[in-house]
Amino acid sequence: MRMPKLPPLLAKGMLEAILVLLCVVFAFTAEGFLSFENLLNILHQIALMGIVAFGMTAVIIANEIDLSVGSLVAASGCLLAFLVYKGMPVVVAIPVVVIAGALSGAFTGVMRVAFQVPSFITTLALFTAYRGVALQLTGGFALTPFPSWFETLGGRIGNVPVPAFVLLAVFALMHFLMRHTTFGSAVYAVGGNEEAARLSGIRVGLVKVLVFATLGGLTALSGILTASKVMAGSPMVGTGLELEAIAAVIIGGTSFTGGVGTVRGTLLGVVFIGVIINGMTLLDVPSYNQLIVRGALILAAVLINRLQETQA
């Protein structure tokens, strides 16, 4: 099908333009949308998903996928609760959980590289298994061993939501990693053309394992913040988070066939989803309808990306 032509400026910044337009509409229709507090609120609401989405961006650019992150969020929070329950100080348990997350990500990478198991399959299996791990660690119930100061991590200092700043920090880190380091360049090369990268002497296997490990570590971090938010290791958190994170990455313009995409785009995608949810909630749109709108949005974003590609 022949795609309609867009004016160049709009074609380049289409997503930004729609986001601004959306904010303007909400600013006029939804009371309190534009307040500083509400904007921080938006970041707070999407932080736990957004942190994962930035790691997911790298994985998708490397032409891989990870469906296990939602379950890993739950398993990480439960592992933290379990360790603290068994007497480990929280400040020690946190890095242990992050490392465990990175190792489980690396496992997916090793399966992919050493045994050629598609990451879709491995992480589909882990999607189920990690949920089981979470249930096993907590005996099926929320485990609540945390000291009261732990609440601030996923909550607020004064009026300022901490996860929002973790989100921005992770964004800055991943943006730098993908844009300004040799590792980031290697990820793009591996995702864009694995054989060319290999023949250029890039260690493709190592790159893939590290990309999955990065996502695993970030997912564990999100799990820790989630545990703080609910002040418990709950085995039922994080359901559907993997699909939301993938949606944010795709809305942000990252190609599902690898090699193309930016962390900045994902930030836009994350904010986009946050703004929509927040705005619709303020407007009292019923939650069933919200789901329909969000689904339509993902499709619309992909169509916009196709338009931009055909005109590039």
Partner: protein, 515 residues
Amino acid sequence: MKRSVADETAPAEGACNLEVVGIRKEYPGATALDGVTLGFAPGEVHALIGKNGAGKSTLVKILSGAVQPTAGRILVRGERVRLASPRDAFAKGIATVYQELSLVPEMTVGENILLGRMPTTWGGVKLDRRRAYAAASEILASLRMDLDVRAKVSGLGMATQQMVEIAKAMAGEPSAVLLDEPTSALARDETESLFALIARLTARGVTVVYISHRLQELPRVAHRVSVLRDGKLIGTRAIADATPGVIAEMMFGDAMHKTPPAVALARRKPVLEVRGLRRAGRLRDIDLTLHEGEVLGLAGMVGAGRTELLRAISGADRLDGGSIRIDGREVGRPSPARMKALGLGLIPENRKEEGLVLELSTDDNVCLANLKRWARAGVIDRRRRRAAVARTVADLDIAVSDPERKVSELSGGNQQKVVIGKWLNTAPRVLLFDEPTRGIDVRAKQQVFQIIADLSRRGIASIFVSSELEELLDVCHRILVMQEGRITAEVEAADVTLAQLFALCVQADSRSAAS
């Protein structure tokens, strides 16, 4: 009808299964076929040969209905036809078996043979497998092929799949079968059973049009051979008269090659030594030595193992035996990363699939093989890198408006220079060039040759693979000839003529005959 002088062995008027008369095909800016007139007799195997770009594949595409000629007539059994599509050509009696097989691996032999023509029952609703298998068995029996119609195609060897493909073509009872490079994927003993099958086809009066780069096998299968050059029919010969010398003259004409670069190359230090290299089914007992600043050519027909050799040396493919030494030191377990660290790089045959990351910019691609060079502790210094890319672009004369834009926007020649530039940025000692001039224009070709010559002067050695023998004579100091995975001859480029080199590439393999 006017007949070309060379067409001395043509069958009598009206006796052809398939005829083309004055066929022309023009593409914007190029004439692919320039008035070709040719008759194919019943029961003959007619080989079509010529260099890349001579017009063979265009003629095959026209006969198979895939493209339409600009002018000229096609006659099947004396009747003029228009071949609107491959399906139409098949219905009118011309079946084509392509180089890439078109079988569905997870279906059975019988289902594949009758694909798209499966008999049905229940008023066309239900496939009638019993009848289908009976029909397929009949076809196989008529070709005396002993094969289970219920066997899955994926479990069959390449040669058997090829035969299933031919049986599929025969299901339409064609007058002519076009075989496009049928033996390129087959081992030697497998080609024999293919030839036997071809003989059974011709015994039934079918015409076989046979396209192959493997000229040495023509005497075993073909009756006549026609040579195309630059879109024109140069001539047709009975196979008994088509000696390698005659064929070479027809294929290459009297085009003289330039004298090779007059480099008085005192044999300097060897940088790369390969001993006893083996790769099962591909490479056998390869020995070669490459000296500092030397340009070594690899000649041979398609499938001789040239690409496989370069890939093995560069660490791209696993080895089954033998040793590689660089500067006298043996390389354990070669991989692309390891060979790069030792100063060796491969400019691969397919630049789009293996050389470039098309989604990335020129800038990124030029830096791909040495990301660390412009980085400190893993952090890239963009400014230094941009300056380095600008130098590469200027040195190699890459025509690029903005290096930040996608490399896929560049022309083939400029893309090839990006791949070369990528390796020059690794400060290499040895570069392996696999068909670096394929699909690039004349000016870019000359520039690539110039780059190789410049490298040679700086002491960087190259191995150069090309199917264009003229290029090898122009560029190389020394040339090795490969056949069937082995090195069968070595010549100084200054000492041979084009025809001699060609004869070395196609002559019956004397060593294997002796062993």
